[in-house]
Amino acid sequence: MAIVLSKESLSQFVKKYVVEAPRIAKKCLPGQFVMLRLCEDGERIPLTIADFDREKGTITLIVQEVGNTTKQMGETLSPGANILDVLGPLGQPSEIENYGTVVCVGGGIGIAPVYPIARAYKEAGNKVISILGARCRDLLIYEEEMRAVSDEVYVTTDDGSYGEKGFVTDPLKRLLSDPSVKIDRIMAIGPVIMMKNVAETSRPFGVKTIASLNTIMVDGTGMCGGCRVSVGGENRFACVDGPEFDAHLVDFKNLVQRQQMYKGQEAEEYSCGGQCKCLE
């Protein structure tokens, strides 16, 4: 049982929850996630720990309403409400070292989980360059937070309503091609298609690129094998071996395909009216 302490809308389809979970807050590290189940008939879903406060014993979840459970959260989880089950912290923490210059790429909802990682890179002494992408200005989240932990920030929107018009890969490519900038590592979290394109952009430059994979999960403990992803031709379990992997080795095509497994069964209609390509 975990109590919701606060709830806030970040954009039309994205909400931020601060949840009391002292045990998890005490242990968690950037890059880890929780599994949560709302009620007895509920599904277990994975959500990244977007922030944590060890003193207050709280964790922050940033949730995009895409289907059944995430919408139900939006509708039923007001401050004071209970979440039946919260399990964590799960997954391998991000590798944080002083690499030199790190580019953090966040797309859509992915900006939230990239934030604690960017902060940790900064604390470890890295120069942090952040690239934030969203479909439009209204869907851009966590800009302030990211600016606070970054040395440089680039923003792109698909429709040009804010920042540069285009995709996150545009400024990334410019940075990679700039002889006066030496990039040592790239961290990308966002829609699968974005992570794939980031990987393709950085591949020719040979810069180590990490992606956090959002596979479908059931238990989150390595027991079911449902979260398997092909990395370097070998199957790995995203919940225990990941969720972060070397993006240059990930079979993104298979990841996209496996995410479609229940598309026919689960409501096809997304809160974004289907315009948003965030799930692809």
């Binding site: 008939d41 599904e43 449902g226």
Partner: protein, 465 residues
């Protein structure tokens, strides 16, 4: 020798039960139980007892049953076996107690498992397995149990009776291990498992769900700042194996664990009333021939698959599943594709399964295990048209605890190394069940939990001295 034949188990008819999740075996009625109990010769030197991994006092409990002393019967059972309603249903009795029964030499053994189930069910329905009859021991100290499968629950039950403060940490949201997430409702109703767990809670066992050891707490933290005197690890064999053949990542391919967890633990058979979906094909191939494979095949059938085949590279005689389960599966219309070796899973452009390429096998020379080795018949490849594949080829140990516990020795398969008594290479840390032996049986896991509880008792007494 008894002239009365062994009494058959009443069952739901195959054509009905293959459409529902209600229990297949209905249990003896009072009269049949009495008649079956009367077959037991009450041997002064009971062979049957030696066949039972926990040494249940079989003639004793059967005698009480025969005399109508049901409270005594359940106490006699529970003295050695804390989960008789479970074991009476899922123990491979034909290889254990019943295999040794003297009546089995020239005729049919006593149906010990069925009688055990009868007594346990009777006790539950009549509230005889009361908490008051449990005696508290003198032990004092705190023990943490990791994992709430049969090994962990048995250790917890014994230790709480010895007087210890016992906390069970379970990663999932429900306690019971494989009894909850693996073995289907139609073989082991979840209500029965929960009843047994409630009994333990009533005795004072604390169960903390949603606590994954290695993450939420480490073993060293349990022994250190959390203040436990000893830890028992019973984390089971939960890590699914894959075949490493082409096409395993196609949509429509499940590891049996995922398929069974979705259906049992998450109750996906009630989708969309419950939120967890499960995919079911029209034509399903289940690869493997153990209990897990039978459970997956029979579950798929119940969820509406038209054709379900077991694909196994050896012959029926080598199938590791219990005979009874194989018979049940056949009655329910599950096909056996024996001497058939899966080579690759074929998919369409959208990434969904459309077929399973297999080759025919024949039995050659015996291998190291004494079983005749299957050899491929050249040029015998063909494709089975299926739209779902379930891999049920075994499970290994989950590495979470081992990889986060310095000083805990493991073998080359990743299983924790422990003595017969459950002592690991780390002081104060004990282990037992599938995490030590590899995937085995409910009763052997319980036996290990029992021995470890006794060893933990000795360890803590020693420490407090």
């Amino acid at each position: 020798m008894s002239r009365v034949a062994r009494h058959a188990m009443p069952e739901q008819p195959a054509n009905e039960r293959s459409k529902n999740f209600k229990e297949v075996a209905l249990g003896y009625d009072a009269e049949t139980a009495q008649a079956e109990a009367a077959r037991c010769l009450q041997c002064p030197n009971p062979r049957c007892q030696k066949g039972c991994p926990v040494g249940v006092d079989i003639p004793d409990f059967i005698r009480y049953l025969k005399e109508g002393k049901m409270a005594e019967a359940i106490i006699a059972l529970k003295a050695k076996n804390s989960l008789p309603a479970v074991c009476g249903r899922v123990c491979p009795q034909e290889n254990q107690c019943e295999k040794e029964c003297v009546l089995g030499i020239r005729g049919e053994s006593v149906a010990i498992g069925r009688l055990e189930r009868y007594v346990a069910d009777y006790a539950r329905e009549h509230r005889l397995d009361c908490v008051a009859c449990e005696i508290k021991g003198e032990g004092h100290g705190r023990v943490a149990i990791v994992g709430s499968g049969p090994a962990g629950l048995t250790a917890a039950g014994d230790l709480v009776r010895l007087g210890y403060e016992v906390t069970v940490f379970e990663a999932l949201h429900a306690a019971g291990g494989v009894l909850m997430y693996g073995i289907p409702e139609f073989r082991l109703p979840k209500e029965i498992v929960q009843h047994e767990i409630n009994q333990l809670k009533a005795l004072g066992v604390k169960i903390v769900t949603n606590a994954v050891i290695g993450r939420t707490y480490t073993i060293d933290e349990l022994l250190g700042e959390e203040g436990y005197d000893a830890v028992f690890i019973g984390t089971g064999a939960g890590l699914p194996h894959f075949l490493h053949i082409e096409g395993e990542n196609l949509n429509g391919v499940y590891a049996a664990n995922e398929f069974l967890t979705r259906v049992n633990l998450m109750r996906a058979y009630q989708f969309p009333k419950v939120a967890t979906p499960v995919y079911i094909g029209e034509s399903v191939a289940v690869i493997g021939a153990g209990n897990v494979a039978m459970d997956a095949a029979r579950t798929a059938k119940r969820l509406g698959a038209k054709e379900v085949s077991i694909v196994y590279r050896r012959s029926e005689a080598e199938m590791p599943a219990r005979k009874e389960e194989i018979e049940h599966a056949k009655e329910e219309g599950i096909q056996l594709c024996l001497l058939t070796n899966p080579l690759k899973i074929i998919g369409n452009e959208q990434g969904w399964v459309t077929g399973l390429e297999v080759s025919r096998m024949e039995l050659g020379e015996p291998d190291a295990t004494g079983r005749r080795r299957p050899v491929e018949i050249p040029g015998s490849n063909y494709t089975m048209p299926v739209d779902m594949v379930v891999l049920a080829i075994g499970q290994g140990p989950n590495p979470l605890v081992q990889s986060t516990t310095p000083g805990l020795e493991t073998n080359r398969h990743g299983n924790i190394v422990a003595t017969e008594e459950g002592q690991t290479s780390k002081p104060g840390v004990f282990a037992g069940g599938d995490i030590v032996t590899g995937a085995a049986t409910v009763i052997s896991a319980m036996g290990a939990g029992k021995k470890a509880a006794a060893a933990i008792h000795r360890y803590i007494q020693e420490k407090n001295r």
